[in-house]
């Protein structure tokens, strides 16, 4: 079976065509670099995504700090992960780079602050 993908690894967004027999990835064409093939195999077997969201901050100049994951998690875990992250509350000051949750939902991925928040 021939499958079509848009690689999301970099802004080139290559259109990749891959052969797939239901369990193994065959010939791949259209990728400008080797990361495309790795992306396609992941999409066909266990698609993963990173997410960015915000966490509430108390006593800060802004009500939020922004966060992302240090590694992508399975696509189907996105909404459960968000629920868990939204339950967190931080107290200002919060510094960018701080890990606020390790091993999100048991995956090898941490929640890290990308934009901190100073004390009001």
């Amino acid at each position: 079976m021939t499958k079509e993908f848009t690689c999301i690894v970099c802004p080139n967004g290559c259109q990749i065509t891959a052969q797939w027999d239901g369990s193994r990835v065959g010939e791949i064409s259209g990728a400008l670099c080797p990361r495309g093939a790795a992306y396609v195999s992941q999409e066909l077997t266990a698609p993963k995504r990173n997410i960015a969201t915000s966490v509430r901050v108390q006593g800060g100049v802004l009500p939020l700090a922004s966060v992302r994951l240090t590694a992508p998690i399975p696509k189907e875990a996105i909404f459960p992960a968000l629920q868990q992250i939204q339950q967190l509350t931080l107290t200002a000051p919060v510094e960018a780079g701080t890990v606020i949750l390790r091993g999100l939902l048991g995956y090898d991925s941490d929640v890290i602050v990308t934009r901190g928040c100073e004390k009001a």
Partner: protein, 413 residues
């Protein structure tokens, strides 16, 4: 007002372009400089772009907007480059006097060079002229981004997005992640205006439909938006009667393009390019006013901040030469966008050195090539499997290829 301060360079705007220009200037030995920023923080629009995907080409890793900006803010701090926040530049004159409203009142600088990095702003509903009342609930994508990512406020629950620009698609995903229901993204053009990767990761991943050749033809609601009428458009982008569909919604997000913020540029007397809506510049990023330079989104709208930083660094290298030698090589050779090309930067070159052209196509192409010619002779050719207007392209033309005095024409073949 006090006497103007003498200074080597004033940088107007502390977004990624201004920050990169300041750091590079300093590293070229030009240290008597200042960055003027009207907001309370440095970083520009990146502060509210919390999604990842920044810095892939520059740092070989994918960062969020604030993290990308922070790397440059740290570089500014490390060099102790002076900056002034809440300082809004009101005027840049052709003799390079810069006037700003600051917390200490009006201040003036007499600069050797002025660097314009004011970024861009979003097109609003006014620019579109959609009929209907003006109820609450109609926002631009950037405003929604600021509401959600900076102020913790959701604009609404049932959302229609007009325009398939990258910011609109990114907000479609963001709104969905935060619990809103995005009914669809509607694009008047027959092709998407954002990057393919965003169609995949922001729309398809969340089953958000993308309708091409569709637009909003009526806005409903008195005090709050109650819905929009969407119509299909023909190949001249005119609504087709009988295709109207009503979508009940409380929020309409406009992602219909960015316009460079050039009031200061115009007042300084610099010539603008009607295609980019930014200044007409030479290969040194110098505008038609000697000593005034421009880079970043104020020059032409970029989709990738990595290119913004690179452009600002190239600008800084030229500004350093200008400040030392009080002039730059003359750039008499025009660069003209030909068939299939939306715009090209720079608009003039010297022909004396290798030059990097930034451009966009004006419609999608497949299996085509971007070709640069001088009187029919091809100087350089970049074949591409797929090219969309959403992608800014760069290509380099070697000095030894360029003949003097003839215009360069860039086209898609």
């Amino acid at each position: 007002m006090k006497q103007p301060k003498q200074i080597d360079a004033v940088i107007v705007g502390g977004g990624p372009a201004g920050l990169a220009a300041a750091v590079a200037l300093f590293d070229h030995g030009i240290e008597n400089i200042i960055i003027l920023e009207r907001e309370a923080q440095l970083g520009g629009i990146l502060r509210q772009c919390i999604h990842d995907g920044f810095g892939l080409t520059r740092f070989s890793q994918t960062l969020s907007g604030p993290e990308y900006a922070q790397r440059f803010i740290d570089a500014v701090e490390k060099r102790r480059i002076p900056y002034l926040l809440k300082a809004s530049v009101l005027e840049v004159s052709a003799d390079k006097t810069v006037t700003a409203a600051t917390r200490d009142g009006l201040m003036q600088w007499k600069a050797g060079a002025v660097i314009l990095t004011m970024g861009c702003r979003e097109r609003t509903r006014g620019a579109l002229a959609i009929p209907g009342d003006r109820p609450a609930g109609v926002f631009t994508a950037g405003v929604v981004q600021a509401y959600i990512n900076l102020y913790n406020r959701m604009p609404g629950k049932e959302v229609v997005i007009l325009g398939s620009g990258d910011i609109g698609m990114i907000m479609a995903r963001r709104l969905t992640l935060e619990g809103a229901h995005v009914l669809g993204v509607f694009e008047v053009q027959p092709y998407p205006s954002g990057l393919p990767r965003n169609i995949q990761q922001c729309l398809l991943d969340f089953d958000i439909p993308l309708h091409l050749s569709h637009t909003v033809t009526q806005i409903h609601g008195k005090s709050r938006l109650t819905g929009v009428t969407i119509s299909q458009v023909d190949d001249k982008m005119q609504p087709i009667p009988g295709t109207e569909t009503f979508y009940p919604c409380d929020t309409l997000v406009l992602s219909v393009g960015l316009i460079p913020e050039n009031e200061l540029t115009i007042d300084a007397g610099a010539v603008l390019d009607s295609r980019t809506k930014g200044a007409d510049v030479d290969e040194n990023y110098q505008t038609s006013v000697p000593g005034i330079f421009a880079a970043g989104n104020v020059l032409h709208v970029h989709d990738l901040v990595d290119f913004v930083s690179l452009e600002a660094e190239r600008l800084a290298a030229s500004v350093a030469v200008y400040l030392r030698e009080h002039q730059l090589p003359c750039c008499p050779i025009p660069v003209i966008p030909g068939d299939g090309i939306g715009h090209v930067i720079p608009q003039h070159i010297s022909g004396q050195r290798d030059v990097s052209l930034s451009l966009r196509v004006n419609r999608p192409f497949e299996n085509a090539a971007i070709v640069v010619r001088q009187q029919g002779r091809a100087l350089c050719r970049k074949p591409l499997r797929k090219i969309a207007p959403a992608q800014m392209l760069e290509l380099t033309v070697k000095a030894q290829q360029i003949a003097p005095e003839q215009a360069l024409e860039v086209s898609v073949e």
